[in-house]
C-alpha cells in the first residue's frame, strides 16, 4: 500500500479517459483499427465472433421471453437488458473461469455467460427465492438490488484474492445512476488504496429509471476514476468487440497485479427500467431512435454477413438455438417449486439459534392446528 502522495501531477498509466470512445465495430459493422486495442482481440477467430453473435441473440431472446413470462403473470418483475447485450456479453466473455463477478440486477447476460442455469436466472424474479444460484458454482454473486452496495464487496473479494496469492480478478457491474452512491465512491478509494485487482464496469445506459444521466454526472463518469488514482477506459458499450478488448485490457492489469481499472461502457437501455416501469412518461423518442440505429446485434450481424461468415444456414441455426434456449427457459421457470411454508425460517443463521428455532416450532404447531400443509 502506498502511503505518500506526490504533490505534483502524475500521469496515470492508462491515458486518463480518452476523448473518443474505444470502438472496433461501427454501427454499420465496419471493423475499425485501433493500435492500442486491436492486440487484445487479435486471437478472435470468425468462430469466436459467431459465438459472441450467438450469445447476443440468445440473451436477447431470453430477455424477450422473460418479459413475456412477466406479462403472463409468471414473473413478478423483470429488468430487461434490451440494448445492453454487447456490454454484458463482451465483458463477461473476457473473464477467466476463476474471476469473480459482483453484479447489479440487470446483468442477466453476464449470468448466462457465467453458466448460470436457465431457470436459476429467474428465480429471484419469479419470487421463489432471493437468490437463484450458489455464487461459488459460477463465480458470480447473485443480483444485488441495493444500488452500488456490491462494488465494495468486489473490492474486499479482490483484496482477499491478493492475500491468497492468486491472480484472480474481480469484476463489479453497476449503472450510471449508481455512481452517485457513496458506496461506489468509497469502493474506488479502497480499491486504489489497496491496489485491489478489481475492474469497475459501469454500464452507462443514459439513465436511472426516469432520471437522465445528467442528473448524476456533469462529465463522463470515466473521468472520475483518475482522480481516485484509477485509470479508466470509455468504450462503445454497443460494440461487443471493443467491450471485449477493453475488458481484457483491464483484466490483464488485474491479473498482473497492477490494480484497479474503471470501464465506462456507453450504451442505452432500449426497454423499460423494469416491467413495472412506464417509460412513455420520460423517454425521449429521438434519443431512443438514435440508439436503435446503434443496435449491438445488428452491427455484428452486418459485419459477419459482409464477411460471408454468417450464412443463412448459420443464422437459422442461431435462431433455432435461441428458440430452444427460450423454450427450456420457460419450461424451467414454470417448473420452479414454490417455497414451503416453514422455509421462511431456513438459513437465517448458520448456527443454531434459540429464537428462530422457537418461532419455527410455534409456527409449525400453528400450521398443524389449522390443518395447513407443509406444517410438518
Amino acid at each position: 500500500m502506498r502511503t505518500t502522495v506526490s504533490e505534483t501531477r502524475i500521469e496515470a498509466e492508462l491515458p486518463s479517459p480518452p476523448d473518443e470512445l474505444v470502438q472496433l465495430l461501427d454501427p454499420e459493422g465496419r471493423r475499425l483499427t485501433d493500435p492500442l486495442y486491436d492486440p487484445y482481440v487479435a486471437d478472435v477467430t470468425d468462430d469466436d465472433l459467431m459465438a459472441l453473435y450467438e450469445d447476443l441473440v440468445v440473451v436477447r431472446r431470453i430477455d424477450v421471453e422473460a418479459t413475456a413470462l412477466q406479462r403472463q403473470g409468471q414473473l413478478g418483475l423483470w429488468p430487461p437488458l434490451l440494448g445492453q447485450e454487447a456490454a454484458q456479453v463482451g465483458s463477461a466473455r473476457a473473464l477467466r473461469a476463476d474471476d469473480f463477478v459482483f453484479s447489479s440486477y440487470r446483468e442477466n447476460a453476464v449470468a448466462y455467460c457465467r453458466g448460470v442455469e436457465l431457470p436459476q436466472l429467474v428465480e429471484v424474479w419469479r419470487g421463489t427465492a432471493q437468490a437463484g444460484w450458489n455464487p461459488y458454482a459460477v463465480n458470480m454473486a447473485t443480483p444485488q438490488i441495493v444500488i452500488g452496495a456490491q462494488t465494495l464487496h468486489a473490492v474486499g473479494y479482490a483484496v482477499g484474492c491478493r492475500h491468497d496469492g492468486v491472480d484472480t480478478a474481480t469484476v463489479t457491474y453497476f449503472g450510471d445512476g449508481a455512481t452517485t452512491q457513496g458506496d461506489v465512491n468509497e469502493a474506488m478509494v479502497f480499491a486504489a488504496s489497496f491496489g485491489a485487482p478489481v475492474v469497475f464496469f459501469c454500464q452507462y445506459n443514459q439513465g436511472a429509471i426516469s432520471e437522465p444521466v445528467g442528473l448524476q454526472a456533469q462529465r463522463p463518469i470515466a473521468e472520475r476514476a483518475p482522480g481516485f488514482g484509477i485509470p479508466s477506459i470509455r468504450v462503445d458499450g454497443n460494440d461487443v468487440l471493443a467491450v471485449l478488448a477493453a475488458t481484457r485490457r483491464a483484466l490483464e492489469r488485474a491479473h498482473r497485479g497492477d490494480g484497479p481499472t474503471f470501464i465506462e461502457a456507453v450504451t442505452y437501455r432500449m426497454g423499460p427500467h423494469t416491467t413495472s416501469d412506464d417509460p412513455s412518461r420520460y423517454v425521449d423518442p429521438e434519443q431512443k431512435a438514435a440508439w436503435a440505429a446503434k443496435d449491438p446485434i445488428a452491427r455484428v450481424e452486418a459485419h459477419l454477413r459482409e464477411r460471408g461468415v454468417l450464412t443463412e444456414a448459420r443464422a437459422a441455426s442461431v435462431a433455432a438455438k435461441a428458440d430452444e434456449v427460450a423454450a427450456a427457459f420457460r419450461a424451467g421457470c414454470l417448473a420452479l417449486p414454490n417455497p414451503a411454508p416453514l422455509s421462511v425460517f431456513d438459513h437465517v443463521y448458520a448456527e443454531p439459534h434459540a429464537g428462530v428455532a422457537r418461532q419455527r416450532s410455534q409456527q409449525a404447531a400453528y400450521l398443524r392446528s389449522i390443518g395447513e400443509e407443509g406444517g410438518e
Binding site: I145, G177, A178, A208, E211, L215, S343, V344, S369
Partner: protein, 333 residues
C-alpha cells in the same frame, strides 16, 4: 368529500402543502416527470415546477443530507425514499443529524423534515422492497414516526407531518395504496392520537398501517363467534398514544398487537411492556404479539407464510382469551 385511493390522498395532501406554504419542497428519486414509482407525486412537478419538486441524484444519504441543509435555510423538505429497504444508506443522516440537530443546538435549528417511506410487504416484490423498518426510527429520540391506514388519514396526516416543526418519518402502507375512501380536505384531528376504529369489550387489537384492515377483518370474523373486539389504529408510532390503548385494555383486559416487522425488538414489545406497566392489575392474560417472524423478509412466493393474517390474529385472540389454541403450552404457563 371525494373518493380517493390512499396514494391519491397522499398526492392531494402534498399538493395542498405545496400550495399553502412556499417553503415546502419535495425531494426524491424519480418524483418529477415519472411522478414516483407509485405515482404518489404525479403531476406535482408540472404544477409547482422543478424548484419545488426536485428529482434527486441516486443517493439516499445525499437526499436527506441535502434536506437538512434546506431545513437549516428555513425550508420544509419532504423527502421520498423510493422503497423501505433503501432508507438504510440514509440512516446516519437521519439518526445522527435529523434526529439530533434541534437537541444539539438547544432549539436554535429546527428540522421540519418529512421523510415519506412506502413500507411493508404483501405486493409480491423482490428483496428490499417489503421492509418494515419503523422500530429503528421509533427507538431514535428526536424523530416522530407515523403511519396511516386510510385515505383520509393519509391526506390529513401528510399535511400534519409537513406542518410539524419536528422531523417526521411518514410510513405509507404500500399494499394499501389502491384502497379507496372518502377524503375531506378540511378534516382534522390531533396528530399523535390513536383512533378507535371499532369498539369492543373482550379483546383489544392494536394495529397500524397495512394491518389495520386485517385487524378489522379479524374483529368482524370474531364477532361471528360472539367475541367483541376493539380495534385501535395507532397512527402515531412515536410517540405512542398509550393513553388510548390503556383505556381500552382497562376495559377489555386483553391485548393483541400486530405488525409486519420482526417481533424481536419490534414496536409490539414496547406496547406490551408499556401497557403491562400501566395496566398490570387489569390484564387477564399476557399481551400477545402477532408479527412478522425474526427472519429477513422472505421471497415473494413465501410472503404469505410470513405476514400476519386474519387466522394468525384470531389464533392470538383465542390465546389471550385463555382458549385452547396452537400455542397453548408454549407460554403464559
Amino acid at each position: 368529500m371525494t373518493e380517493l385511493t390512499l396514494a391519491k390522498a397522499v398526492n392531494s395532501g402534498l399538493r395542498r402543502a405545496l400550495a399553502d406554504d412556499d417553503r415546502v419542497v419535495l425531494l426524491g428519486e424519480d418524483i418529477g416527470q415519472l411522478g414516483g414509482v407509485f405515482r404518489v407525486t404525479d403531476g406535482l412537478q408540472r404544477e409547482f415546477g422543478t424548484d419545488r419538486v426536485m428529482d434527486m441524484p441516486l443517493a439516499e444519504s445525499g437526499i436527506i443530507g441535502m434536506a437538512i441543509g434546506l431545513a437549516y435555510r428555513g425550508f420544509r423538505p419532504v423527502c421520498e425514499i423510493q422503497f423501505d429497504g433503501f432508507i438504510y444508506p440514509a440512516f446516519d443522516q437521519i439518526v445522527a443529524q435529523v434526529a439530533k440537530l434541534h437537541y444539539r443546538t438547544r432549539g436554535a435549528v429546527r428540522m421540519p423534515i418529512t421523510i415519506r417511506v412506502p413500507f411493508g410487504g404483501g405486493i409480491g416484490a423482490v428483496e428490499h422492497h417489503s421492509e418494515s423498518p419503523e422500530a429503528y426510527f421509533a427507538h431514535t429520540a428526536g424523530l416522530r414516526v407515523v403511519t396511516c391506514s386510510t385515505p383520509q388519514d393519509a391526506h390529513t396526516m401528510i399535511r400534519q407531518a409537513i406542518a410539524c416543526d419536528d422531523p417526521v418519518l411518514f410510513f405509507e402502507p404500500k399494499r394499501r395504496y389502491w384502497t379507496k375512501g372518502e377524503v375531506d380536505e378540511d378534516a382534522d384531528f390531533p396528530f399523535d392520537r390513536a383512533r378507535v376504529v371499532l369498539e369492543g369489550t373482550d379483546v383489544t387489537i392494536v394495529a397500524y398501517g397495512p394491518l389495520v384492515a386485517t385487524a378489522i377483518d379479524a374483529a368482524i370474523a370474531a364477532s361471528d363467534d360472539g367475541i367483541s373486539i376493539e380495534v385501535i389504529d395507532l397512527r402515531s408510532l412515536s410517540p405512542l398514544d398509550l393513553d388510548t390503548v390503556e383505556a381500552s385494555v382497562r376495559k377489555t383486559g386483553r391485548l393483541v398487537i400486530t405488525h409486519e416487522a420482526a417481533q424481536f425488538g419490534g414496536l409490539g414489545a414496547e406496547i406490551a411492556a408499556s401497557i403491562t406497566d400501566r395496566c398490570f392489575l387489569h390484564l387477564e392474560a399476557a399481551p400477545a404479539r402477532v408479527t412478522g417472524f425474526d427472519t429477513p423478509y422472505p421471497s415473494a412466493r413465501a410472503e404469505e407464510h410470513f405476514l400476519p393474517d386474519l387466522d394468525r390474529i384470531l389464533d392470538a385472540v383465542d390465546r389471550v382469551l385463555g382458549r385452547q389454541n396452537a400455542l397453548t403450552g408454549w407460554s403464559a404457563s
